[in-house]
């Protein structure tokens, strides 16, 4: 077995002697005998590094990767290109084996990277400030709702039904316990009719929560709906796809008060769902309601520029039961991942990733339109994700997976009324050849 314990038996003896005991058991003497484990733990004996790696590689091989199959899955996680540079930097022990930057004098690398992250996210979303990141998109959205209810001192929150259903479930489990009333706003034609919001919004409403583009890929009118929120003294929370913002107007310029979402598209591997990156940005009046960490730029006693965790008094370790959130970590390494990605892609690169994703998704749509028996149930504008409908969808998706194409997400998983509806995502990583193969295979299976 591998051994990460350096002390030799001789050293152990010296240490026991220094402590003044005979055996290590003496150090555990105050554990009452009836609580002491009488036998060994019932887990396998340790193995060497190479044997362990063999076991894990065998498990990994039982999965089909998106390198082996072609991935048209989205629904919150997207198969974008991840530049090689990122992982090489993440593997620097100076980053990944560091702790939270509690001693800023020896943590300037992490702190400055977070300051850069905050600035990039603020810029991308068009907001005044961002925090240092959260766990992932769904729980970050729940935190955004808690911010809004605290700020407005209201309890009613309108959540659009076109928000990712997984997010809506998490919102239900994390917010209702705070006494928040979640009201669902139904969709029509895959999008939210502002009139529907008008019917449900009132002066008790703390916030509206809308996704941009929404779960079906459709671009919602966040401008009009944000304005309706403001007319009622409520806040507008926009869940955005950060890559889409390379092509789509920043929510901050369309009336959003809080922009949150999933940072995975910013160069984070699919990783079977995590670790990902929740981002959360807001405008100035909400600065002191922001959960989690924030890094600020300042100077040291010699006048040299440096970075510190700031506004810490909001946080759980100081406010304890009065804290606005219990979060005590961020996803620093994933925030670094996104920061490297944004720096490397740069202004033109982010636009191009968004542009190519848009172009390829629209090409797919044009090609699919030729297939008899396939329809597009929703009519709104979309970015890189769309809903298609065809008979026996689940069966056909299964067949395509066997032939090496993850062709989409069956929506009856989430909406019983959407049988045979499939959500398809296309990124810049898909080639014309892969898209053509998709269309051929699907057409063949529908009409074969």
């Amino acid at each position: 077995m591998a051994n990460y314990i350096p002390n030799t038996p001789d050293e152990v003896q010296e240490m026991l002697k220094a402590i003044g005991v005979k055996t290590v058991d003496d150090l555990f003497a105050e554990i009452p005998p009836e609580l002491k484990l009488q036998s060994e733990l019932n887990i396998p004996a340790g193995v060497s590094e190479v044997e362990m790696a063999r076991e894990l590689k065998a498990l990994a091989r039982e999965n089909t990767t998106v390198d082996e199959a072609v991935c048209f899955l989205g629904g919150g996680a997207y198969d974008h290109i991840v530049p090689a540079v990122i992982d090489h930097i993440l593997l620097r022990g100076d980053f990944f084996t560091a702790y939270t930057p509690y001693q800023p004098e020896v943590s300037q690398g992490t702190l400055q990277a977070i300051y850069e992250y905050q600035s990039l996210i603020s810029s991308l979303t068009g907001m005044d400030q961002s925090n240092a990141s959260m766990y992932e998109g769904a729980s970050a959205t729940a935190e955004a709702i808690n911010m809004a209810t605290a700020q407005t001192r209201r309890k009613r929150v309108l959540v659009m039904q076109t928000v990712n259903p997984e997010y809506r479930r998490v919102i239900n489990s994390l917010c209702q316990t705070m006494g928040t009333e979640i009201v669902s706003v139904p969709f029509e034609d895959g999008t939210i009719d502002p009139g529907k919001v008008g019917e449900l919004i009132n002066k008790e409403t703390a916030a509206i929560v809308i996704q941009y583009p929404n779960f079906f890929g459709t671009i919602e009118d966040i401008e009009r709906i944000s304005a309706m929120a403001h007319e009622n003294g409520a806040l507008a929370i926009v869940i955005a796809n950060p890559i889409a913002l390379g092509l789509l107007e920043a929510p901050g310029n369309l009336g959003a008060d809080i922009v949150t979402g999933e940072g995975q598209p910013l160069g984070i591997p699919l990783s079977f769902g995590g670790p990902y990156l929740g981002f959360l940005a807001a405008n100035k009046p909400l600065l002191r309601r922001m959960p989690g960490r924030i890094v600020g730029r300042t100077v040291d006693i010699d006048g040299k520029t440096g970075f510190v965790l700031t506004l810490q008094a909001r946080e759980q370790h100081i406010r304890r039961e009065k804290a606005s959130s219990n979060i005590c970590s961020n996803q620093a390494l994933m925030a670094l991942n996104a920061t490297i990605y944004m720096s490397l892609m740069g202004k033109d690169g982010i636009k191009e990733v968004a542009g190519q994703s848009f172009q390829k998704a629209h090409y797919l749509k044009r090609e699919l339109a030729e297939i008899k028996g396939l329809s597009f149930p929703f009519t709104g504008s979309f970015f890189n994700e769309l809903v298609i409908k065809f008979p026996n969808a689940r069966k056909i998706l299964g067949k395509m997976a066997k032939q090496g194409i993850f062709a989409g997400i069956p929506l009856d998983n989430y909406f019983s009324g959407l049988k045979d509806h499939v959500l398809v995502a296309v990124t810049e990583k898909r080639s014309k050849g892969e898209i053509d193969r998709y269309v051929d295979m699907l057409g063949g299976l529908i009409n074969g």
Binding site: A98, S122, F272, T298, R319, S343, M345, F406
Partner: protein
């Protein structure tokens, strides 16, 4: 020289990455998306690949890290992060799978998760486990949601949670997120829970007790069995904050002590890297009577295949959109597999040995408020240096000049000028000796020339920072300067 901000290195027109050329016929986005939703301006830096690599490499060199040296942060369990685990987390079969792939195509991943659940159940003595929570704090929240769901189901009117005054700050913050009122219970002179104080606060509306054992003083509370019985006597539940599990693996288990709910910090006990503050993972284990409340989805094996189910109606619902921080879980699985049953016990044995070895020597120089064998960590007080005008903070800053990270300071709150030291099992006697020597030299400096401590650190990339100005005029976004 300070490293410039990435924005100040930018030059328009530079590219750090080249995409494959667009190979489909192009359309004009303006024909498909209303103009008001098309982006007008995007402020982002533009750099070449080599500039990006150098910038972040230079930044990395400004950090202290475990790969560089000792990191004795109490309650954080800064142990060595085995390199092979990074390789395992990067196997394409784990890193390159989509969370919504067909179940047939992720059987290996589900099998790994299911095995990890059973290992963690065995280590903690619990019956069922969810791997979903993304960190310890989210684990706490999940555990409290389970507690609340249990009481609701049983029509119990419960409003309060008892927490020892030595508890982590996260505990009360988590309680208020589910609407429970926090009742603090005092510590007794031995550092354990004051049983009389506890009894006086044990009313029928107590939902439960949140405690870590060994506690934040590093001391094992021998009364834990009786404590659990008392809480159970009012139909309360006993919650184990697993921050300090590194002290007891293979020696005793929370499940055997009477705990109903446990959360673990895989980034502490199970060696997954802290990453400068995250990601972590905070699995939650429960006894069988609480299994129904665990978050959906759950992983089940039907004898042939692993399945992800969301059927349980009593569930508190998901706390994350996915099954958890999967790649963190891969690393923890690798760690448990390599160490095995004896290895895990050795870990705790050596963590406790190292801590006691340090405590015995350092108590001669610094005040030790609770003088009895500790477990994996111990708490000293810097109060005796007060006569030289020196605070614990000064000692912490001076340690940085010696190339060590500082211990956790000013926590737990019940010890004045606290210094909480946790060496972990992966440090050698030699490292511990060097560190103790530094602490002894610093105590001597305090007597002879306290100014050295107050000026410290002097050898770090920056010196003490102006936190007041940082908070008064927050400069937290390069693109929007403070007024």
């Amino acid at each position: 020289m300070a490293e410039p901000l990435i924005f100040d290195l930018s030059k328009d027109g530079r590219r750090g990455y080249t995409l494959p050329e667009l190979d489909v016929p192009e359309v004009d986005p303006a024909d498909h998306i209303p103009a008001r939703f098309l982006r007008k301006e995007l402020n982002m830096p533009s750099l070449s690949e080599v500039e990006v690599v150098r910038h972040f490499t230079r930044l990395s060199r400004l950090n202290h890290s475990l790969d560089v040296g000792f990191y004795p942060l109490g309650s954080c369990t800064m142990k060595y992060n085995p390199k092979v685990n990074e390789d395992m987390a990067r196997l394409p079969g784990f890193a390159h799978i989509h969370p919504l792939q067909p179940e047939d195509t992720v059987q290996g991943a589900l099998k790994m998760l299911s095995k990890l659940e059973s290992y963690l159940c065995e280590i903690t003595g619990m019956d069922s486990m969810t791997l979903q929570p993304a960190a310890g704090a989210q684990g706490e929240l999940t555990g409290l949601l389970i507690m609340q769901a249990y009481h609701r189901k049983n029509n119990n009117h419960k409003t309060k949670i008892i927490i020892p005054d030595s508890g982590h700050g996260t505990n009360p913050a988590s309680c208020s997120m589910v609407g429970y009122e926090v009742v603090n219970v005092k510590s007794d002179p031995r550092g354990g829970v004051d049983m009389e104080d506890l009894k006086s606060k044990l009313t029928p509306d107590v939902a439960g007790l949140m405690i870590t054992n060994p506690n934040t003083l590093g001391l094992f509370d021998e009364n834990i069995g009786e404590l659990a019985n008392l809480i159970h006597s009012v139909d309360g539940l006993v919650y184990y904050d697993g921050a300090n599990l590194n002290a007891i693996m293979g020696w005793t288990r929370p499940g055997d002590m009477g705990f109903d709910i446990v959360h673990l910090n895989l980034h502490k006990t199970f060696s997954t890297p802290h990453g400068g503050g995250g990601p972590g993972a905070g699995p939650v284990g429960v006894k069988s009577h609480l299994e129904a409340y665990l978050p959906n989805p759950r992983i089940q094996f039907d004898g042939k295949k692993y399945k992800v189910t969301t059927k349980c109606r009593e569930s508190v619902g998901p706390v994350l959109a996915s099954l958890g921080n999967f790649l963190v879980l891969v690393r923890a699985f690798a760690y448990i597999t390599v160490n095995g049953r004896e290895g895990l016990k050795d870990i705790s044995t050596h963590a406790v040995l190292n801590a006691n070895y340090m405590m015995q020597r350092l108590k001669k120089t610094y005040k030790l408020p609770y003088d009895r064998f500790c477990k994996h960590e111990f708490v000293l007080s810097g109060k005796t240096l007060g006569e030289f005008g020196v605070k614990t903070l000064d000692v912490a800053k001076r340690l940085l000049d010696f190339g060590f990270h500082a211990p956790t300071v000013y926590f737990p709150l019940i010890v004045e000028e606290a210094m909480m030291i946790e060496p972990t099992e992966t440090e050698s006697k030699g490292t511990l000796d060097c560190f103790m020597e530094a602490l002894e030299m610093i105590a001597a400096e305090a007597k002879e020339n306290a100014e050295i401590l107050k000026q410290a650190p002097v050898k770090t990339p920056v010196r003490r920072l102006d936190e007041a100005t940082a908070a008064r005029k927050p400069d937290i976004n390069y693109y929007r300067k403070p007024e």
